[in-house]
């Protein structure tokens, strides 16, 4: 993979990212890029650091080393007299408002209906009018197949429905990048399909996506680029055919073998 210093096509550029929790090094020098319109899938065993990496991309986790650029801009820090200083809450929030994040456990706001969940940030962060936000929200809820559930509270929805509302909520901010953190891992098996279908549709529409998942079928079909992580480093990356069919890497093969047995 070629690494140009500045590339207008790069949505995410991670350089040598290091993250520690106490004495534990979770990410040990991770570098990769995500091009505009690309779907990058990160796979790997639990504890490999893939979720942490994703959370670093919208600064839900601070990094201890390296750099992350979003759309050409340094994330979370600015240069002051040649030193890196943590950015203000306002600046970080502005970047986050352009990045959609879908959580493993949905994290819908339980005191709001599905519709209220979707219009909350457009109204209070983007300062859209209620009418404008509601109109867009209804389009998005229809898109994820939940128009008729607009006035339901989250606890009246199935896990799959909740996750689809969460995706609509993220899309309502018109993000230029969507991050999916094991979006289907908390779902009953029969509900996984409906969420993957929405994700596939987004990918087809050209959304730039970084997806952490255990769904190898999805990775194989939808990913433009697959990253295999283990113990805080990228072990192997490449197009899905290479990683899934022709890997020469021992650890990748062992991991895929374990997944297939399940």
């Amino acid at each position: 993979m070629t690494m140009k210093a500045v590339d207008g096509d790069e949505m995410v550029r991670a350089e040598d990212v290091v993250k520690r929790f106490g004495h534990l090094t979770i990410l040990n020098g991770v570098s990769f890029t995500v091009k505009r319109g690309q779907v990058v899938v990160i796979i790997g065993p639990s504890g490999s650091g893939k979720t942490t990496m994703l959370r670093c991309i919208n600064h839900l986790e601070k990094i201890d080393g390296g750099r992350i650029y979003i759309d050409g801009e340094l994330l979370g820090y600015r240069m002051v007299n040649g030193r890196l200083v943590e950015d203000s809450d306002a600046a970080i929030s502005r970047v986050r408002s352009q990045i959609g994040f879908v959580f493993q456990r949905f994290n819908l706001f339980p005191h709001m209906t599905a519709l209220e969940n979707v219009i909350e940030a457009p109204i209070h962060v983007l300062h859209q009018s209620r009418e404008e936000a509601t109109e867009r929200a209804m389009e998005l809820l229809a898109k994820v197949g939940l128009a008729e559930k607009a006035n339901s509270y989250p606890h009246k929805l199935s896990g799959g429905q909740q996750q689809r509302v969460a995706i609509a909520r993220a899309l309502a901010m018109n993000p230029k990048l969507m991050l999916f953190d094991e979006a289907t891992s908390a779902l009953d098996p029969e509900l996984v399909g409906e969420v993957l279908k929405v994700m596939r549709q987004l990918a087809e529409e050209g959304m730039t996506m970084v997806v952490v998942t255990h769904e190898m079928g999805f990775a194989r079909d939808v990913a433009d680029h697959v990253i295999f992580m283990d113990r805080g480093i990228i072990v192997e990356e490449g197009p899905p055919e290479q990683v899934f069919e022709h890997t020469s890497n021992e650890r990748t093969r062992a991991f895929l073998g374990m997944i297939r047995e399940q």
Partner: protein
Amino acid sequence: MSLWQIIVKFLFSTLFLQAAWRTLWISVVSQTFGVIIGLILALMRMSRFPLLSWPARFYIWLFRGSPLLVQILILYDGIPQVMPSLTKYLTVYSVALIAFSFNEGAYMAEIIRAGITSVDPGQMEAAKALGMRYPLAMRRIVLPQAARVIVPPLGNEFNNMLKTTSLASIVGLFELTYTAQVYGSQDFIIFQLLLVATVYYLLLTTLWGYVQGWIENRMDPDRSTRNELLKQKGLAERLFGFGSARVGGTLVSGR
């Protein structure tokens, strides 16, 4: 006049109606300020900046660790001795309001902190991920959910406050208790008038119990289950809280 005649006579007297009104408004104002002080303290206490969290810890330690009666006396008798210029501001009313509000603030701080802590951290993360800043996320996402945990103990605090105001009798504020004491000892009817005061306290706390139940019911985003529970409870149970949990006792955010 018989014992009962005296009780009935004073029960409907303007003297006691006024005293009850004083008890009520002092309670409402003190509780309101207590909640405001408590919210500020709770947010300070949870801050990662020691400059904010330590003063809050100190405040809570000080006001929860010393008797309210002593705090009242320090304000009314102690401060005027060392700072005579403040005496004119320290009337019975201002002393009562300051002491009750500040003291209540310390207790509310811990209740509000527990409420905020009870909200799934994922909620704050989801709000942040949508580009919401801390104050907005707190106000729109975290506090409304924390409120459902905060309101039941807040109701108990207010019930307590209605009765705690009787401590203001020590500085001669004519709330229910002091009124009963003063007029009772004048005419040797102290027993009767203390009973009258008791009836008023019970009336106020009982009415509050209803208001509290109504508020908690309103706060449930999905009221149908709550209303069914309410229907199953008899009048006596709701009034006096016999048997099972108080109306709206369990409030758990969405599954």
